[in-house]
């Protein structure tokens, strides 16, 4: 494991100045767009409940990808891959929350 000699609190080392942060801006616009589409579809009752449900789920997954690639720089960085561990755990938790909530909120629709 690479352990740096000197660790400086709060010093992140700024990236070379001058570059316009295009990735961030594009990501920001896309993530806002995805949100607005979801809102619009629901407000306009654009589809039946099942259709809305599936569409919003798809939009949500896209949103996760946008966050990971445009803001969290999932592909960059050296050293131990802590972020992969966290990401796996995060996916497990997200899956649990969503699947669990759906299961719970069916209220005994399961047969006794």
């Amino acid at each position: 494991m690479s352990m740096m000699e000197e660790k400086v609190p709060g010093h992140t080392g700024r990236s070379e100045g001058g570059n316009w942060p295009w990735m961030h801006i594009i990501g920001f616009v896309i993530s806002i767009l995805l949100t607005l589409i979801a809102l619009r579809l629901v407000l306009a009752h654009a589809m039946g409940p099942a259709g809305l449900f599936v569409t919003i789920m798809v939009l949500a997954v896209l949103q996760i990808l946008v966050q990971l690639f445009f803001f969290m720089h999932i592909l960059e960085g050296g050293g131990p891959r802590w972020h992969l561990w966290m990401l796996t755990l995060g996916f497990i938790f997200v899956f649990t929350i969503i699947a669990g909530s759906i299961w719970i909120m069916t209220f005994g629709a399961e047969s006794y």
Partner: protein, 654 residues
């Protein structure tokens, strides 16, 4: 939508002597503080040394003071409630007032007492334990503290301005919706939690990164003190749990302020979704606050048994197991909502499983003491008091987790007794143990023992006198959140005993507080930096630690690093040749975290009363602070070698 118009009698809460009393004391205390600061010309000192600091040690101390004050306020709430319940048909508090008090009591104890107390201990100890000079993001750390602080201020303000929330600390809709809860109290609840929640998430991220990235050379993960592991687990839980609370509160706020229907009874809303989301956060939250306490007990028990902790690897594994499993149990808080037998069985089982790693930890603490030379100091007393306490709390938890049985226990005084046993016996005992343990490291003197012992015994015995009767009352059918009860239920004696216990705990708290004041003047100075013959790196530093913590970053070769160094020195093994001192790179103080959080407070206050102009002003100031920070390149500086030498020499070190 609620009516926006307000008049003065609405704005300032009137008509209740207790609240007039609070008004008067708030004004008096504020005037006193201003007067003292002005008289001793301490404004500049306050600003430079505290309000703008980014030093983790000072931030930790501020968290701790805030937590103790909130423990006091929450404790007074508790005593008011217990007084009202001491006898049947009491006429001490009115029903609405009682509702407000149990709501603020619960909210304050969990979010504004337990949370800052764990953050206090994390801030004070973690960087010192892992051999770092500060946390990974000191500026963010300051933001976290001030967001917590102003969130707590906003919440407490509700008592005198506008009225307190009264829908319980869980704030379930539909009761918490504007249909049934017009007043600004619920808005206060939602916004205060939202503001302090931002701080909590940032703290979780900060300590996660700190522990993974800032360790001294040689300190592998498996050489970390167990407190670090506990905080790592807590940070993971914070990162994943708090966003769910943020969303739940935001949706409820949108319902209340913008007239949406996420959780209403009409318009397609479903209040049960809020309950679901609240506990997706809520159950991990109870482990967020208790895991650091477990970590503290591990340090305290090892130090005062003079042994390494027994079963280190199994301790780590059980911490991590608890962290992950606690994410799969949330439904046990609403078995009675009727989700069906399949759902209830799943969550009952997952809840029972979590008792296993908890049990492993208890046995490891006992095994550590076994055959050790146990020194029963004050921190050790709290650890010893914790073990039987938590055994009972855990056992009643398993009883509650049996879904069919929970239909009997749910929302009864049995539940109340269970979670107070885990939260007081676990979290409060743990934080007090940590406070006594690390106090010399924070301030350079020890807390006096006599007062501390009186405090411990009154609090500990009072605890059982207060809460064991509540288990019985629960069995006898007394439900929670009732403000009075008739005679002839058979509850009167037990309630009276419980109230007596509560006042015993109050007395215990007063002894603890008096002991602190006494020790400030007469406490034994800690000149060695290692008053307990400690095992971990924080004890290798002088007390209080210098601003930069370590003049030279230590090189770690084993678990319990400081103990090993001491052993080697005793055997005459000379420490390896030391490097020359080098200038130390440190972050600069900044007033912006304070102003940023103050701006959030202003925006939040505006939203509480639907004063949108104030809200806009507040958020504009927030944006300005963020922008200024983005273009601020002057954020750090070097401490020159001369100055380090001088500081070290003043501690008698080189």
């Amino acid at each position: 939508m609620p009516d926006d118009t307000l008049n003065v009698s609405h704005f300032l809460v009137t008509g209740d002597p207790l609240i007039y009393g609070a008004d008067v004391s708030i004004v008096v205390v504020s005037i006193a503080i201003v007067a003292v600061l002005t008289y001793y010309r301490k404004w500049g000192w306050l600003w430079r040394e505290w309000l703008t600091t980014v030093d983790h040690k000072k931030i930790g101390i501020m968290y701790m003071i805030a937590a103790l004050l909130m423990l006091f306020r929450g404790g007074v709430d508790a005593l008011l409630m217990r007084t009202q319940l001491a006898f049947p048909n009491m006429r001490f508090l009115k029903a609405e007032h009682y509702n407000q008090i149990f709501t603020t009591h619960g909210t304050i104890m969990i979010l504004f007492m337990a949370m800052p107390f764990i953050f206090a201990m994390m801030n004070i100890a973690i960087p010192l334990m892992i051999g770092a000079r500060d946390v990974a993001f000191p500026y963010l750390n300051a933001i976290s503290f001030w967001m917590f602080f102003f969130g707590a201020m906003l919440f407490n303000l509700s008592f005198v301005i506008g009225g307190s929330p009264d829908a319980g600390w869980t704030s379930y809709p539909p009761l918490a919706e504007s249909e049934f809860n017009l007043g600004p109290g619920e808005n206060y609840y939602l916004l205060a939690l939202q503001i302090s929640g931002i701080g909590s998430i940032a703290t979780g991220i900060n300590f996660f990164v700190t522990i993974l990235k800032m360790r001294a050379p040689g300190m592998t993960l498996m050489r970390m003190p167990l407190f670090c592991w506990a905080v790592l687990a807590t940070s993971v839980l914070i990162i994943f749990a708090f966003p769910v609370l943020t969303v739940a509160l935001a949706l409820l706020l949108i319902d209340r302020i913008a007239g949406a229907h996420f959780f209403t009874m009409l318009g397609g809303g479903n209040p049960m979704m809020y309950i679901n989301m609240f506990w997706i956060w809520g159950h991990p939250e109870v482990y967020i606050v208790v895991l650091p306490a477990f970590g503290i007990f591990s340090e305290v028990v090892a130090t005062f048994s003079g042994k390494r902790i027994f079963g280190y690897a199994s301790m780590v594994a059980s911490l991590m197991a608890i962290a992950v499993i606690s994410y799969f149990t949330w439904l046990h808080h609403f078995f009675t909502m009727g989700a069906g037998p399949g759902v209830n069985s799943f969550f009952a089982l997952s809840t029972m499983i979590i008792a296993i790693p908890t049990g492993v930890k208890i046995f490891n603490w006992l095994a550590t003491m076994y055959n050790g030379r146990v020194r029963v100091t004050v921190p050790m007393k709290w650890a010893l008091g914790f073990i039987p306490n938590f055994a009972v709390g855990g056992a009643t938890g398993v009883m509650l987790s049996v879904a069919p049985a929970d239909y009997q226990y749910h929302n009864s005084y049995f539940l109340i007794a269970h979670f107070h046993q885990t939260l007081i016996g676990g979290v409060v005992f743990g934080m007090l143990a940590g406070m006594y343990y690390w106090w010399p490291k924070m301030f350079g003197f020890l807390l006096e023992e006599r007062y501390a012992n009186w405090g411990f015994w009154w609090f500990n015995i009072g605890f059982y006198v207060c809460f064991i009767p509540q288990y019985l009352l629960g069995f006898m059918g007394m439900t929670r959140r009732i403000y009075t009860y008739p005679t002839g239920m058979g509850w009167s004696t037990l309630n009276l005993i419980s109230t007596i216990g509560a006042f015993m705990m109050g007395l215990g708290f007063l002894f603890i507080a008096a002991g602190i004041v006494y020790s400030i003047f007469y406490g034994e100075r800690d000149t060695t930096g290692d008053p307990w013959n400690g095992r971990t790196l924080e004890w290798s530093l002088p007390s209080p630690a210098p601003h930069y913590n370590f003049a030279r970053i230590p090189v770690v070769t084993s678990r319990d690093a400081w103990w090993t160094m001491k052993e080697e020195r005793k055997q005459g093994v000379l420490p390896p040749g030391r490097d020359e001192l080098r200038p130390i790179h440190m972050p600069k103080n900044s007033g912006r975290p304070f102003i940023l959080s103050l701006s959030f407070f202003v925006a939040g206050f505006g939203l509480v009363f639907h004063w949108y102009i104030l809200t806009v002003i507040g958020f504009a100031a927030v944006a300005a602070c963020l922008l200024l920070r983005s273009f601020d390149y002057d954020t750090d500086s070097y401490i020159p070698v001369d100055e380090i030498k001088k500081t070290e020499a003043s501690y008698g070190r080189s």
